[in-house]
């Protein structure tokens, strides 16, 4: 039986590690070795907590248990957090039962009770675990910060059992979204600059930032229910200043200005709306059925508008290239 030692104290290195993880630096590198850990000086009567082998999951758990002695059983979730791993099945019944056996947990403790994070429940079937390992599963609160109160009171309040998606939860997602999208931001902006100049480049950056940064922040306050329609509204508002700029500043006939403005209305809000639709995967509340309905309803609109905008841009370029006076 191998038991590793850990503590509730997070080091500067741990915090730096969390910060880098939020920025998507070496995305898959935040792993803890799976297995059984002793927190403080546990006895055979101490509680057993189950966690994922993602450093952020493991670290928030041990930090929340400050001043307590216990065991932490770390499952091999391939460096993925509890909730996402549960939906993939890696934080699951199979892995939990296997890990209980491999670590010989039954020899380390007298009791037969495991405390799991509530969000692990979409991967772990409590009655199956009981049947196969003899250990009872108790689902604790959603957040590790509520663990001390949960342990003291012996039960979770309604609030502890509800997942939240507040400003802070939405905010921490932004860096990694930006980093992942950086190649597209650079390529799109460069292309827009070559085709339409500085205003086009600025409008491109604005619509991308609207989708990647403003949308997550403003999500609950944007009108309408669907993510795509919220994205269209936000993208429309974001592109408005550029429409005024182009109508006021560019030379040429009224119809060429109108055509140029039209390409912007077709292209940019669709980009923001597409990014907004993709944010569904980052939220804590969208259902598969709801997202599928939205894909069928809005993707044709986005593709149609975006495609029409591109075609119109090419046509306008051709007219200019052929020496058309516009």
């Amino acid at each position: 039986m191998k038991i590793r030692q850990t503590s509730s104290k997070l080091t500067f290195g741990n915090y730096l590690n969390h910060w880098l993880a939020r920025w998507g630096v070496r995305r898959m590198g935040y792993r803890v070795d799976p297995g059984l850990y002793a927190l403080g000086r546990p006895t055979p009567d101490s509680p057993v907590f189950v966690s994922a082998n993602y450093t952020l999951s493991f670290d928030v758990l041990r930090a929340a248990l400050d001043g307590m002695d216990g065991y932490i059983l770390v499952l091999d979730t391939k460096g993925i957090n509890v909730w996402c791993a549960a939906s993939k099945g890696t934080f699951g019944t199979e892995e939990l039962v296997r890990r209980i056996g491999e670590t010989e947990l039954a020899k380390a403790v007298n009791h037969r009770l495991l405390i799991l994070p509530q969000l692990g429940a979409s991967g772990v079937s409590a009655h199956e675990v009981k049947k196969r390992s003899g250990f009872s599963v108790r689902f604790g609160p959603v957040r590790t910060a509520d663990l001390p109160e949960f342990l003291k009171e012996g039960k979770a309040t309604e609030k502890m059992r509800q997942v939240r998606f507040g400003l802070r939860e939405r905010f921490v997602l932004i860096p990694v979204e930006l980093v992942h999208s950086l190649p597209f931001i650079l390529a799109g902006t460069g292309l827009a600059f070559l085709v339409g100049g500085i205003f086009s480049a600025l409008a491109t950056v604005t619509s991308l930032v609207a989708g990647l940064v403003l949308f997550p922040v403003l999500l609950p306050w944007l009108p309408t229910r669907d993510f795509s329609s919220k994205g269209y509204i936000l993208g429309g508002v974001a592109v408005l200043p550029f429409l005024f700029l182009i109508l006021a500043n560019s030379s040429g006939s009224w119809w060429s200005k109108t055509a140029a403005a039209l390409t912007w209305i077709l292209i940019f809000p669709s980009v923001t709306a597409f990014l907004a639709l993709n944010f569904t995967g980052s939220t804590t509340f969208t259902s598969r059925t709801g997202v599928r309905r939205e894909i069928f309803a809005y993707i044709p609109v986005m593709a149609g508008m975006f495609g029409a905008g591109i075609v119109l841009t090419v046509v306008l370029m051709l007219i200019r290239w052929l020496g058309g006076k516009i």
């Binding site: 898959m28 391939k78 993925i80 996402c84 549960a86 939906s87 993939k88 509530q118 969000l119 429940a121 979409s122 991967g123 772990v124 079937s125 409590a126 009655h127 689902f139 959603v142 979770a156 309604e158 059992r161 509800q162 997942v163 993510f227 639709l277 993709n278 569904t280 995967g281 980052s282 939220t283 804590t284 509340f285 969208t286 259902s287 598969r288 059925t289 709801g290 997202v291 599928r292 309905r293 939205e294 894909i295 993707i299």
Partner: protein
């Protein structure tokens, strides 16, 4: 409630409920509530189809087609013909 199919795939048969309360513990959106000795759906529209209730309902009173509500995953699956799965790994 009318036209439930349009919202989500959660189905519940109260006759099979044994009153164990597990669904009221595991649901992250408080869809279930204990009404006496039986669970009851109180926030049907909040279901995100995570599947935790079905997995932890021993008598099998709950059924839901669980999956990830992620547009990127679904579109990628449709484009590549692969199984729908979270891409963020």
């Amino acid at each position: 409630m009318k036209n439930r199919e349009a919202i989500n795939t959660l189905r519940y048969n109260p006759e099979l409920c044994n009153g164990c309360r597990m669904c009221t513990y595991v649901c992250p959106h408080r869809v279930f509530w204990m009404n006496g000795r039986k669970a009851e759906i109180v926030r049907y529209e909040a279901c995100m189809e995570c599947g935790a209730c079905q997995l932890n309902c021993q008598p099998g009173a709950i059924a839901v087609e669980s999956g990830v509500g992620c547009a990127a995953a679904m579109m990628w699956a449709a484009l590549t013909g692969k199984k729908e799965s979270c891409l963020c790994s």
